[in-house]
């Protein structure tokens, strides 16, 4: 047995594997929240729907990567369409309106997916083996598929972070979110950027859904993203709804804590862990661990 196959490292690998998915969903929520101050309760369902669109293409003979690309394109389109049709009329309305509309949209997407693709889980065959690595005769609880899952999530997170931090587009996106009126006075086409923010957020969520749909142990079904969304939502709240970094770190933290509790705490505790983390984190820092909202002065 090597240190890589120890119980501790096994929990680390499994925790990270789940945590990156929570982080991705949390990141999607944060992108939308930062740009439009709307909590997109349909985030998971939108990702599921776009993943189904990609998966449908596999029955037409397209390989995994082509289906992946189509799912992301569908995510972009669905995000843009949702912002233009459903969300834009809500900007100047009370917050409760957006909550009701997005929860309704969640139900609509799940019902439509069940009607079109049935409720039976389906799997998109990935080119990565899901058999755990072996090292000197010991099993390391990490598979090529899990590595792909971690790398794909980290690539998306890094790319989104880099767009926001280093590009002119990111600067304008941040300005549109922080001070839309000032941004407009500087010639920034705020409406277009808000649409793009929704497209980007939706596509980021789709990566999580495609990974889940390729996992032999889970597969894709109309309601599969609901559980992941809850953990992603908790991660976003714990990290701070305005902090992309917070979303990623909190997602990983929840994945790891959940995994360690599953092994070392009495049975059933791990299911409650994210909620306990949320309550404790919000008691210590109500604005989220990484949020800078309190420091904001305009």
């Amino acid at each position: 047995m090597t240190w890589l196959s120890s119980g501790f490292m096994s929990d680390v690998f499994l925790g990270i594997t789940n945590g990156v998915l929570y982080g991705l969903i949390a990141l999607s929520l944060v992108i939308v929240w930062r740009s439009t101050s709307i909590l997109n309760f349909a985030q998971g369902a939108m990702a599921m729907f776009a993943a189904y669109v990609g998966m449908t293409m596999s029955s037409h003979g397209l390989n995994f990567w082509a289906c992946f690309a189509i799912a992301i394109a569908a995510g972009f389109a669905l995000g843009g369409l949702t912002e233009r049709v459903l969300v834009r009329p809500l900007y100047k309305r009370p917050e409760i309106n957006s909550i009701v509309v997005m929860v309704g949209f969640l139900g609509l997407l799940e019902s439509a997916a069940a009607a079109i693709w049935s409720t039976a889980p389906r799997t998109l065959e990935s080119p990565f083996s899901q058999i755990y690595f072996q090292h000197h005769g010991s099993t390391i609880l990490l598979s090529p598929f899990a590595l792909f899952q971690i790398i794909a999530a980290l690539v998306i997170m890094t790319a989104v972070g880099a767009i926001f931090r280093y590009t002119n587009l990111g600067l304008q996106l941040r300005a549109a979110a922080l001070a839309p009126e000032v941004a407009r006075l500087l010639g920034v086409r705020v409406n277009r950027l808000l649409t793009f923010g929704w497209m980007l957020s939706s596509a980021a969520g789709v990566v999580a859904a495609v990974v889940i749909s390729s996992s032999g142990s889970i597969g894709l079904s109309p309601t599969i993203m609901d559980g992941f969304f809850v953990f992603g939502f908790i991660a976003a709240a714990v990290g701070g709804l305005e902090s992309p970094l917070g979303a990623v770190v909190a997602g990983l933290m929840i994945g790891l804590v959940q995994q360690f509790l599953q092994d070392y705490a009495p049975s059933g505790i791990s299911s409650f862990a994210p909620v306990i983390i949320l309550v404790v984190a919000l008691m210590i820092r109500p604005q989220g661990l990484f949020s800078t909202t309190k420091a904001r002065r305009v």
């Binding site: 002119n168 600067l171 304008q172 941040r174 300005a175 922080l178 001070a179 009126e181 000032v182 941004a183 407009r184 006075l185 500087l186 010639g187 920034v188 086409r189 705020v190 800078t292 420091a295 904001r296 002065r297 305009v298």
Partner: protein, 236 residues
């Protein structure tokens, strides 16, 4: 030239502006004066499309601005430094300036070199967040951010608000210098009528949303009735 003709703006039952008309000549500073609630800020916000006009028109070199969106008005060369400055506190000085340069597609490096020459303190604080700047520095940043886009018209809303008298004097001198050097058309909204009239070429006095005087700054400054009743200035 910016021409405002018979402009009316209402917020529900409140008439913020009623039949406002005046011309702001190219390359000159036109001071918009009046007490609180006179409609000065509403006038600037309507010019840049942030408020909707009920009737009338606003034209820039003969082209109506009323049907245009705020971002298109900005791209047409109208810079607006709003009341309270509107710098983005979470952004650094450089990020605020970069944002100002993007839509205008100007050379950023040349632009910041010009602005740092005009406002040297911004160069020293280039990596600081705007939240950490003093009131005067924020005002400079707001102006530099508008100027980096090389506007032909600059709308300044209360640039002296909250500034010390010495800083206000420097700010007014800078505005005057900019106008002369860059042939900039400036609409200067000010409650501090004395400072504004010192640098302005023309002045429009608003009272409860109506124009009560539109003349050269010198004439307005010399009119005792205006000074006493509308500008809150003591007798000369």
């Amino acid at each position: 030239m910016i021409s405002v003709s018979q402009l009316s703006v209402s917020f529900g039952a409140i008439h913020a502006l009623t039949g406002v008309s005046f011309d702001a000549a190219n390359g000159k500073i036109t001071a918009i004066l009046g007490a609180n609630g006179a409609g000065k800020t509403t006038l600037l916000r309507t010019i840049t499309g942030l408020e909707e006009a009920a009737s009338g028109d606003i034209t820039l070199d003969g082209e109506s601005l009323l049907k245009k969106r705020t971002e298109d008005i900005a791209r047409a060369g109208v810079g607006h430094v709003p009341e309270g400055r509107g710098v983005i506190a979470e952004f650094t000085v450089l990020e605020n300036l970069r944002l100002g340069s993007l839509a205008a597609k100007v050379n950023f490096q040349e632009g910041i070199a010009e602005q740092f020459e005009l406002f040297p303190v911004l160069g020293e604080r280039r990596h600081q967040h705007a939240a950490t700047l003093s009131g005067g520095e924020r005002q400079m940043l707001a102006m530099a951010r508008a100027l980096i886009a090389k506007p032909t018209v600059l709308l300044l809303d209360e640039p002296s608000l909250g500034l010390a008298p010495l800083v206000t004097a420097e700010m007014m001198a800078t505005i005057s210098e900019l106008c002369a050097k860059q042939n900039l058309t400036v609409l200067l909204v000010e409650q501090n009528a004395k400072s504004a009239l010192k640098v302005a070429h023309d002045a429009v006095v608003l009272h409860l949303g109506k124009v009560v005087a539109s003349a050269s700054a010198q004439e307005v400054a010399g009119d005792e009735r205006l000074r006493q009743y509308y500008l809150g200035l003591a007798e000369q």
